[in-house]
Assembly symmetry: C2
């Protein structure tokens, strides 16, 4: 769509800032841009494409005349303002979890289920970052053979918890290297030189945390099937902005590694990085700032006998394909 008037909600956050870069890089068409944020950030100046913008406070009347709004605010902000925006005639692409599982709201990875975007009633949801990155690596294989079951362990970056968390990781590392106590405000524990179970709350009935359950439910919604059994373990590691995932799959039908590699390398938004000789596979430091999801360590399970148990390791930039890029891509297909 050509949005005459485009708004970014949460323009000063980690994802909001990446959205601006993605809009510029992809030369996203619009006539007018409005940057919105909380009262705390209102008044800030942002230079974008040679023009200075003043961040405006997000209010109920902010959406008058806005054709398209890219939301990257917390779930509660979205719950409050997205319906107001839709009432003003604005189409909302939301990066929070607020509407993802709403049956009226399409949940879209443009390379996978673009057709769902057409069914929107004003709001479209951008999936969870770990979900998007996993599905980009897994969907081309699912299309080939069908996937029965996934066991996935994540290595998630600080960026998933926002700009303050990224800063905190840096501050923690500096403090610890100087022998001081690391600050822990954004995170419950030090993330620098550490690893911890994802800091979302846990469901006492099954022991899984919210991030893990998102990966399962959102994957089922995006793929349009609940037949894939998914069991994730979400772990934060001390990286800044790219998530890694170790994925084990059981296929419905016998597969072929060359065919898998061909399907992955031919899939838009996916690149192979699978150099067994040089031991060079996808790494967060190399993938940070890149649009594509990188896949490597493609191999059969060590106990596999029938070429039905496949493993791989993938890395994607949490702020780009995991958030800002995917949201802008959704807007592009509208």
């Amino acid at each position: 769509m050509k949005a005459k008037k485009l708004a970014i909600v949460g323009a000063t956050g980690a994802v909001g800032q990446e959205m601006l870069k993605v809009l510029e890089k992809r030369n996203f068409p619009y006539d007018e841009l409005v940057l919105l944020a909380s009262a705390r950030s209102a008044g800030k100046k942002i230079n974008f494409r040679g023009q200075e913008y003043t961040v405006q406070e997000l209010k109920e009347d902010s959406f008058k005349g806005i054709d398209l709004a890219l939301f990257s605010a917390g779930g509660s902000i979205t719950k409050k303002f997205a319906p107001v925006a839709v009432e003003s005639g604005t189409i909302v692409v939301d990066n929070s979890s607020a509407y993802r599982m709403d049956p009226e709201v399409p949940l879209v990875v443009p390379e996978i289920n673009p057709q769902d975007a057409k069914k929107h009633k004003g709001i479209l949801a951008n999936p969870n970052c770990s979900t998007i990155i996993m599905l980009m690596a897994v969907y081309p294989i699912h299309k080939l053979y069908g996937i029965k079951r996934i066991v996935v362990s994540t290595y998630q970056a600080a960026s998933g918890a926002g700009a303050a968390a990224m800063q905190e990781l840096e501050d923690q590392a500096k403090a610890m290297l100087a022998g001081d106590q690391p600050p822990t405000e954004a995170f419950p524990f030090p993330l620098a030189f550490n690893v911890f179970s994802h800091n979302s709350s846990l469901y006492p009935d099954n022991g899984f945390n919210q991030e893990e359950v998102k990966m399962v439910k959102e994957s089922h919604k995006i793929l349009g099937t609940e037949s894939i059994r998914i069991s994730p373990t979400c772990i934060r590691v001390g990286t800044f902005r790219a998530h890694a995932e170790s994925i084990h799959m059981e296929l419905d039908r016998e597969g072929d590694l060359d065919e898998v590699r061909k399907a992955l390398s031919g899939f838009p938004g996916v690149q192979l990085k699978d150099d067994t000789e040089k031991n060079h596979f996808p790494m967060p430091l190399e993938v940070s700032g890149q649009d594509d999801v990188f896949v490597g360590r493609i191999r059969w399970d060590l106990g596999d006998e029938g070429h039905k148990n496949l493993q791989l390791f993938c890395v994607g930039d949490q702020l780009l394909k995991g958030a800002a890029l995917n949201a802008v891509q959704i807007a592009e297909i509208l």
Copy 2:
């Protein structure tokens, strides 16, 4: 055994240094201690239990009169000197991979297969760190129900690559925080603020690296069965000295979570850290310097229907239970 004369080979390395601490902490009995290392480290002074020791160069005649030698040197050093030591009548407990799969050499985790230690013919091998830490969390469950299959993804610390690698992680972090290029001598890639596939070479036929294959073969040898199908993904993360592992198991028989927790907390060398309410689970920073392996995130697979698919997350100090402590424990049961 009471070793009249005890030697540490590789006394100046990361594991060698921890061995000294473990000997002191456990009040390991000996009359005389000899510290051996390469020519490069010979002449260094080490203070231990109020006495100053001069590190001596490891030579063919170093083992005369030595009853017990704890080896923590590279595989090639071990291959050269362990047979010489055995010929001198010395019992060798070796931390390298040189003899682990030798059918004549017991591979021992004292809490699991102490009976194997008795069968030694001069050399006993200390298993790979990731193997020990996994088995400590998995064996009590295997004893209860039998395990059919394990899928494991590791989060491995720098210490597994030695003292120089730990220093490099620190130097890398400092350089990167200052905006400089990180040094990469011990590791092929920056580990600070990064994650990469384990830096051991890969088998081109199956795409697994040496560390992963060690976890499989050594586990089979220690447990005395090849019936457990194990498929690991070994990944390094930017932590200093404790390995974490995300483990998914298929059980032979239906299990019970309370029974699992009881078996784990009652197993010597294992502690539960499984606070779902406070989201507090095992973390490398908290486990560093601790003897025990900590286990948490104990739950059924999200798609599990018959209580046969169990998941958990465990962390153990790579230098202690993963190396020095286990080696000293082997010496203790002799």
